[in-house]
């Protein structure tokens, strides 16, 4: 087996373990994991931009917001999406996320580095501003409460059933994104990340590649928004605020950018720290802030990068000892 096959096997086993173990836990843990899974789709979508294309977006929460508000507005104002039409809402959520990204991408894609950070921040704030102020549509600061979850053969009010639904979407998204980044298209994204000029000289339309990646990320963001709305039961400006985008970015970096699974691990750790630790100790946010700061200072490749770093250190120290041996040989 190649190293890549081993990695895939580990991920599949981990997913299977989650699917088997979690439903037998108490409802607090089930809800916690469901939330983390829904949000992890957003983090992985961001990782396509950040880790694979080299575009650090500070406004990814906008796509989650669009999907979530769409779900909430359709459900509360039109009673739409509470039966079999839930699947239509999923489709609409994906399309809306993609459409918003298609508009935003036109403005943002040309920018690079710090300017890309700033412009995505501004675009994210546009969506937040509408969510916060457009009272008649979004409920303003209070947000929108979703009273019931969809029911179609399956009763999603049952937390285990709902967990399996979100888990299913998570697994399918992970697979889809994995196929995407392993495809020739995904490889060219990595090429753009490494050296955009060289890709241009090779004849790639790098703008179009980045634009398509941006739209795909937006589509997955919209999907995660639909799931998030039903998981949390409330949609509010909190979901689109700058700190939510920053959270997604930090989760991706914490787990390891450019690994997809790393984003999911980051999401699990942060949700775990935030929701579990906060019930245990009052100073949990110091732990979270400390984890972020330490990761950025000492683990720029994230948790997924640890094995590689250890391997690197081992080979380096081996080389050093050999050099020392050679040096100590009397000539």
């Amino acid at each position: 087996m190649t190293a890549q096959q081993v990695k895939v096997l580990v991920v599949v086993l981990a997913l299977a373990a989650i699917a088997i173990v979690i439903p037998s836990m108490n409802s607090f843990v089930i809800l916690l994991v469901t939330r983390a899974l829904a949000f992890a789709i957003l983090v992985m979508s961001l990782d396509i931009l950040l880790g694979f294309t080299g575009l650090p977006s500070l406004g990814q929460a906008a796509y989650l917001g669009v999907g979530a508000y769409l779900t909430a507005i359709l459900a509360t104002k039109y009673q739409f999406g509470l039966g079999y039409d839930f699947w239509l809402v999923i489709l609409f959520g994906i399309l809306c996320g993609a459409a918003l990204a298609a508009v935003f991408g036109l403005l943002a894609i040309r920018a690079t580095g710090v300017y890309f950070l700033m412009i995505t921040l501004a675009l994210g704030q546009c969506v937040w501003g509408l969510a916060y102020r457009w009272n008649s549509l979004t409920g303003g600061d209070n947000g929108i409460n979703l009273r019931v979850r969809p029911k179609f053969g399956l009763d999603l009010a049952n937390e285990v059933t709902f967990f399996y639904l979100v888990f299913g979407f998570f697994a399918v998204s992970l697979l889809a994104m994995y196929i995407l980044v392993r495809s020739p298209f995904g490889r060219s994204l990595v090429g753009i990340r490494e050296r955009e000029l060289r890709m241009q000289i090779l004849g790639y339309n790098t703008w179009l590649h980045k634009y398509i990646a941006f739209i795909i990320a937006g589509a997955f963001g919209g999907l995660s928004g639909v799931l998030w709305a039903h998981t949390a039961g409330i949609v509010s400006p909190e979901n689109v605020v700058l700190t939510t985008s920053v959270d997604a970015l930090l989760m991706a970096v914490l787990g390891g950018a450019g690994t997809l699974v790393g984003g999911a691990i980051g999401a699990f750790i942060v949700f775990g720290l935030r929701e579990y630790l906060s019930t245990v100790v009052p100073w949990w946010q110091y732990v979270l802030g400390g984890v972020y700061v330490l990761t950025i200072l000492y683990l720029p490749t994230g948790l997924m990068g640890i094995p590689a770093r250890i391997r690197q250190r081992r080979t380096r120290s081996k080389e050093e000892t050999e050099e020392r041996k050679l040096a100590s040989v009397p000539s």
Partner: protein, 300 residues
Amino acid sequence: MLDYRYGPSTEGMGVDLRFWLIQTFNGISYGALLFLLGSGLSLIFGVMRIVNLSHGSYFLLGGYIALSVIWTTGSWVLAIPLAALAVALLGLLMERIFLRPLGFDPLRQVLLTVGFAFLFQQAALDIWTGNNFDINPPEALTKTVVVGGVYFPLYRVFMICTALVIGIVLWLAMEKTRMGAAVRATVDDAQMARGVGIDTSRVSMFIFALGAFLAALGGVIGGGFLSVYPGLDFEILPLAFAVVIIGGMGSLGGAAIGAMLVGLADNFGKALFPEISYFTLYAPMALILAIKPTGLFGRE
């Protein structure tokens, strides 16, 4: 009932000349506050190319430290310099100990500053609790002046004057002093500046501390009418970025114009079309960035 915290009264007036006058005045006074916050952020970005997401925390911490000084000494006048200097020291330490060793990597710098913003947030919550506090200025500043039948709160006039004085001092320092010349050189081309013997590392340290100082000053003064509460840091931060982006990064004059534009747009937006008021602020900001990334008045 008139309160110095609110803008001039519009009671009994229709949408007429007075409405425009009052909204303009409110916009300019809010712009004055945003100038204090934005000018520092703009200089930091210009010199170091750092997107400092803990700038809002400096603003908030400035307000909180001023409160503590007022509670212990009872002096508002003393609170302003003490709070600003304390936060400046904090910024200086952050730059020296954490940001400097990181080298130039925009993403890691941004994430580091936001990590600190979270830490400051929790620290502020622990020390000053989650309550809303007002920073009450001295009696003399809570009065109003009447000009042409319109009541202008003196406190807002004071805010405008402070920003004006700070702006002039900064401008003189940038244009007339040796340090200012070094800063301008670093903004234009850091590598060349190092080449001709300017210690850009020292310039960065100085500018970062200055930025924190100005933000904290804004926090103390802003605490008089925004009040001080948890969450203010991330509420005010995007506005500061709007100022920097519209005005142009690294340019003092740009920051002044940007602050006025954002202050006015914010006020008129909320008064005229409240439902999309933030959208009307951030959408132009995104457009400007897309068309001219260095901002309207930024140096190329």
